[in-house]
């Protein structure tokens, strides 16, 4: 049971990690928490579902298309909404994203209806028997894809030129400008990539949770919790935070109470922040204000 639940926790955790990475990227680059992140994930999922159901596309074709559309949505949001509020206060920026979240969610209810809808999985759901433990290819696939995406992102930010520029632009915008980097453009791209990542997370999550307009409810918050737990602004922190959250949740539900499953993530978060306020992997206090 223990091992089964740890495996389970890792699956969920890798999804939280993927979402947390998107959150943390935006925080690092724009200094704000994007409360619409979960809803962007939801919209991306529905775009994919529409492409499959209405457009008749194969899942493997629909997903990359949906990711691109999501990124485009992210770009639009940055230009149309965030730009306007950019130089106003931190709180305004936050409220703006809450507003976007509201619009996206209700828009989805109108466009796609309020019932949960089945979402196809790209991996098989027939369980495999490994050392007596049941694990589906879907689980394994989810973990692998999430990890792969995060590692690819790390590679992007450290080795690929534009990624490096984005990284510099987030950590030190004035100096980056002085190095000839268009910081504004870098921010724009960060947001778009973050949105694309959210869509990836969504298409991995939806086979488990069904596509629904309120998908973002719990996972949205957990993404923030994971990002903060691992150290906000830190890519590996997001990964670590997500995995820890997933496992703690699974174990808490198993050994303490399954009804309070969702609470465990937040309990862990509070404890960690109490002991180490900057999060697990961050070294000093990041003062973005």
């Amino acid at each position: 049971m223990l091992v089964q639940q740890i495996l389970n926790g890792l699956t969920n955790g890798s999804l939280y990690a993927l979402m947390a990475v998107g959150v943390t990227m935006v925080y690092k680059s724009l200094g704000m928490l994007n409360f619409a992140h979960g809803d962007v994930m939801m919209i991306g999922t529905f775009i994919c579902l529409t492409l499959i159901n209405v457009g008749g596309l194969n899942v493997l074709v629909a997903i990359p298309l949906a990711v691109v559309c999501s990124a485009a949505l992210g770009f639009c949001l940055e230009r149309l909404v965030l730009r306007r509020v950019e130089f106003s206060s931190f709180v305004n920026l936050l409220i703006a994203t809450v507003g976007v979240s509201y619009v996206l969610r209700n828009g989805a209810m109108v466009l796609f209806g309020t019932n949960p809808q089945k979402f196809p999985s790209i991996f098989s759901t027939t369980p495999l028997d490994i050392f007596g433990f049941k694990i589906t290819p879907q689980s394994i696939g989810t973990i692998c894809v999430s990890l792969a995406l995060i590692i690819a992102l790390h590679f992007f930010f450290t080795k690929v030129k534009i990624g490096k520029c984005m990284e510099l632009a987030s950590s030190n915008p004035e100096s980056a400008t002085m190095m000839g980097i268009n910081v504004s453009l870098m921010r724009f791209m960060t947001f778009g990539i973050s949105a694309g990542l959210a869509c990836c997370a969504g298409v991995l999550i939806a086979p488990y949770t069904y596509a629904r307009a309120d998908m973002s409810a719990t996972i949205g918050l957990k993404a923030f919790a994971a990002a903060i737990l691992g150290g906000i602004g830190n890519l590996w922190g997001a990964l670590l935070g997500g995995l820890i959250l997933g496992v703690v949740e699974a174990l808490g539900a198993t050994y303490i109470s399954s009804a309070y499953r969702d609470a465990f993530s937040f309990i862990v978060l509070f404890i960690v922040l109490f002991v180490k306020p900057t999060g697990l992997l961050n070294r000093k206090i990041e003062n973005k204000l």
């Binding site: 309020t114 019932n115 759901t125 028997d129 309120d214 699974a250 499953r261």
Partner: protein, 400 residues
Amino acid sequence: MKKLTALLLALAMVLSLAACGSSSSTSDADTSTTTTSETSDSTTTSSSDTFKIGLVCPLSGSSAVSGAILQNAVQMAVDEINEEGGINGSIQIELISADDEAVPATSVTAVQKLVEQDKVNVVIGSQPSSCTLANMEITEAAHIPQITPASSNVSITESGNDYIYRMTSTDTTNAKTLLKYAQSLGYTKIAMCYESSDFGTGGYNIVAGLVEEYGIEMVDSEVYNSGDTDFSVILGKMDAAQPDCFFMWGYHTECAAIMTQMQQYGYDYQMIGYGMNSPELVTLGGDAVEGICICTSFDAADPDPDVQEFDTKYQELYGTSYDQNGPQSYDAVYLIADAVERAIADGADWSSGEVLNEYIASAEYTGLTGTTTFDENGEMVKDLMIITVKDGIHEIIDWQ
């Protein structure tokens, strides 16, 4: 200029919120005139020549599918009656719907609006037990009869409320039917999962209290929350208790997920339950829900001609399928119409809530769902059936 824009934006927000929050009325007109009713030849005149039915149910949120069924069925019945001229051939029915989003607090507000603002003669609703339990106090205080065609928690009719009626099977009848069925299959140990809401908890309590009578032991029970998506933990625990079968008391979304995960983890148990008989179960669950046994008071698989006619017409009008709450709501409207007609025949004033209440209490109406009468608590007794899903289609099991 900035201030003006801000002002306009604020105004737009307020208006859109108001539009969202308001109920979807079929007609706004308040036709309370003082003309005497043509059908009444007694001195007691009705204050209007329309009969207002208020419907409260979830029209948005995760229970929207279930709520829509009430809305559709009630609308169908209302339209049919109005086409024939109305109740007693002359009284048109006005249907006013209110969305309670399956949230008890919202349900209370919705019924308050129906009763105080729209001044309805009767309320039908709600669908979730938690909402009905909350909002039935409003109709009781206003002396307006209320029929719930869908809520199954027993406290609804056991709280001394004289104005509430139920036209769906109770948790007790459901539980008894399920346990009897399990017993007939030779099961002696069950593990049960249920939703943490009033609906699920109510069901669990009753089943837990009745198991012994059927020679069954409940070896494990697990609770989950509506909206949960990961059931591996509870399924693992239920499996570890080594039951003969699984019991479930909850709704179709979670049921589909639970059975899908049972398949993924290789938990091969018979699932028996109540609450998940919805058109969406097969859509969401696919082949994972094959073989599930659900107890219900109505299923379109019933060969009765009236049932078939309802089924065909509902499909034609709305294009979706429905669960037992559909015909129950449909019958509720006709039962009410019948009560009004009997009142008129007696020369009584049906516009008075107390009077109408008496006539509903004494109803004996035969419709799609059989013959409906109410006991002194407003409870209805009915014989139930067990259906199963075979090749994605519902099939009635002949087991008695």
